[in-house]
């Protein structure tokens, strides 16, 4: 019951402490800002890379051929069954006539172009291009598609799929390791920055302890201070990240050499970036202050 009296006091003390120890507070906010921008920049590159990979993956497909004895109507009726399969994203039906045209078009300009154009339509079969949700499950999906009545054979390139899966796994692994590493470095830097600030206040902590303050009471204003510093660093880092990202995105979009890359607009990601920055700032600020003050509580 009595604890509730102190809630406002802790907030007020946390705020006051930030301004009382202005230089250390500035250093802590700056460190959080710097760490978050480094971490954020890397993460945003990873997000862009992930999307590029995702688009490439989405283009990856395999062909499922329709039984030659099926009529056009029967062949088209299979579509619903295929799309009902769990890992199938969508399917595209291509008649054998269209398939022949596509084939001929692919070799347009070739010296044997006439030969391709004169191929009989019967050589081709009605087919479905099957797009998957998760290309790492390609083999299982092929088995399921083969099990659908009216499907007779398939054409796939699993080595390309495996390549994509490997690249994605490596990229995700590297991103995760680097983000965790940067997070730990941030925590260490914040811990030391706040510890330095706390060191100058060890006398204050000793007095509090000698007057009968519990560890919780001593710790609370420092935790509030850490949270506020973390949040301040996060908000500043968010705007700085926005600026840096927009500049780089603009340079890529208008550059002549790297037009193949499509950069995700920051406006599409700002909520996520702000949430991650705020959460990281809070965790790092709070964790850093709790760790920093721990030593001085042993009175």
């Amino acid at each position: 019951m009595k604890r509730s009296y102190n809630f406002g006091y802790f907030i007020a003390e946390g705020f006051r402490s930030i301004f009382t120890h202005g230089l250390m507070s500035f250093a802590a906010v700056f460190m959080i800002l710097a760490c978050l921008i480094i971490m954020g920049s890397f993460s945003l590159v990873a997000v862009n890379f992930e999307r590029e990979l995702g688009q490439l993956e989405a283009d990856n497909q395999f062909l499922a051929f329709v039984d030659e004895t099926y009529t056009r109507e029967q062949a088209q009726a299979i579509q619903a069954k295929l799309e009902a399969l769990e890992n199938v994203s969508y399917v595209e039906f291509t008649t054998k006539e269209q398939a022949k045209e596509n084939y001929a078009a692919k070799y347009a300009g070739d010296q044997n172009q006439e030969l391709y154009e004169e191929l009989p339509t019967e050589v081709f079969r009605d087919r479905y291009a099957v797009h998957m949700k998760d290309i790492s499950l390609m083999n299982e999906t092929i088995d399921q598609v083969e099990g659908v009545e009216g499907i007779d054979g398939h054409q796939a390139a699993p080595e390309i799929t495996e390549g994509f899966v490997m690249v994605r796994n490596v990229a995700a692994g590297v991103a995760l390791i680097l983000i965790v590493l940067l997070l730990l470095i941030s925590l260490f830097i914040i811990y030391n920055t706040i510890k330095l600030g706390t060191f100058t206040r060890r006398e204050e902590i000793t007095i509090m302890k000698m007057c009968g303050a519990t560890n919780g009471f001593v710790r609370a204003p420092f935790v509030v201070e850490g949270m506020l510093l973390g949040l301040a660093g996060a908000v500043l880092a968010f705007f700085a990240q926005w600026g840096v990202y927009s500049l780089i995105a603009h340079a890529i979009d208008t550059g002549s050499t790297i037009q193949l890359i499509t950069v995700i607009p920051f406006q599409e990601m700002w909520k996520g970036v702000l949430a991650v920055f705020a959460a990281t700032g809070l965790v790092v600020g709070t964790g850093g202050s709790v760790m920093a003050i721990h030593k001085f509580l042993q009175v």
Partner: protein
């Protein structure tokens, strides 16, 4: 009440600070603890405040067994004590009022209790109109009065004053000692550690003398006799 029963204290570096101290200070008493540097006075204070644990023997402080007290209980034991230091140890960035307020906050006092108690204590120590001053705006004597007010504000059973007049001139020292006597008359047990022979002898109180980790004399209405140990 404080009770030492054959208490020994040996520090990690092998220094034997206390060699079997037995001592009892009852509620409401006023006692001086005197002795030369290194005699064990500070160790006695540290044992009472829970900064150190006894190596052997039994120590009770206001109902807490200091040999087996848990860390969690330590703040609650300390709330039964008020500690005054030679160097005042006020928080420089807090006003007089705030220096007292945070101590009351620490024990969960309500704002209403704080508003009521602080003016009373400041009046008691003679600092009624200085509640908005910062420590560096006060004289040494006034700073020590704030420290006394801080020790008193939570109405402890006992006040321990560690060389409370060590940084003050004789005039201010006497004032502070008289203030401590007044507080004792209001019912608070007082243990004053000091080097100051004249001051001790001016008040006819209990004098506990310690030397080389042993109590060498303990007399009510006693005097600080041994000039060599000053």
């Amino acid at each position: 009440m404080i009770r030492f029963i054959d208490v020994q204290k040996t520090y990690d570096n092998g220094t034997k600070a206390l060699k079997g101290v037995s001592l009892r200070i009852d509620d409401g008493e006023f006692a001086f603890l005197v002795g030369p540097s290194g005699s064990g006075k500070s160790t006695i204070i540290k044992l009472i405040t829970g900064e150190e644990e006894p190596t052997d023997g039994r120590l009770m402080v206001n109902g807490y067994n200091m040999g087996s007290i848990r860390n969690r209980q330590l703040p609650y034991m300390r709330r039964t004590l008020g500690v005054i230091f030679q160097d005042f140890r006020l928080i420089e960035k807090k006003t007089v009022w705030e220096n007292l307020e945070f101590v009351m906050r620490a024990v969960g006092a309500s704002p209403r209790e704080i508003r009521k108690r602080i003016p009373y204590v400041l009046d008691l120590v003679g600092l009624t109109r200085k509640d908005d001053r910062y420590p560096d705006q006060l004289s040494g004597g006034e700073q020590q009065r704030v420290a006394i007010a801080r020790a008193l504000v939570n109405n402890p059973h006992m006040i321990i004053a560690d060389e409370p007049t060590g940084n003050l001139d004789p005039g201010r020292s006497l004032e502070i000692m008289m203030l401590l006597e007044k507080i004792n008359e209001l019912g608070t047990t007082m243990l004053v550690v000091t080097h100051e022979k004249e001051l001790v002898n001016r008040f006819s109180k209990r004098v506990i003398a310690i030397e080389n980790g042993r109590i060498i004399s303990d007399e009510t209405g006693g005097y600080y006799k041994n000039e060599e140990i000053i």
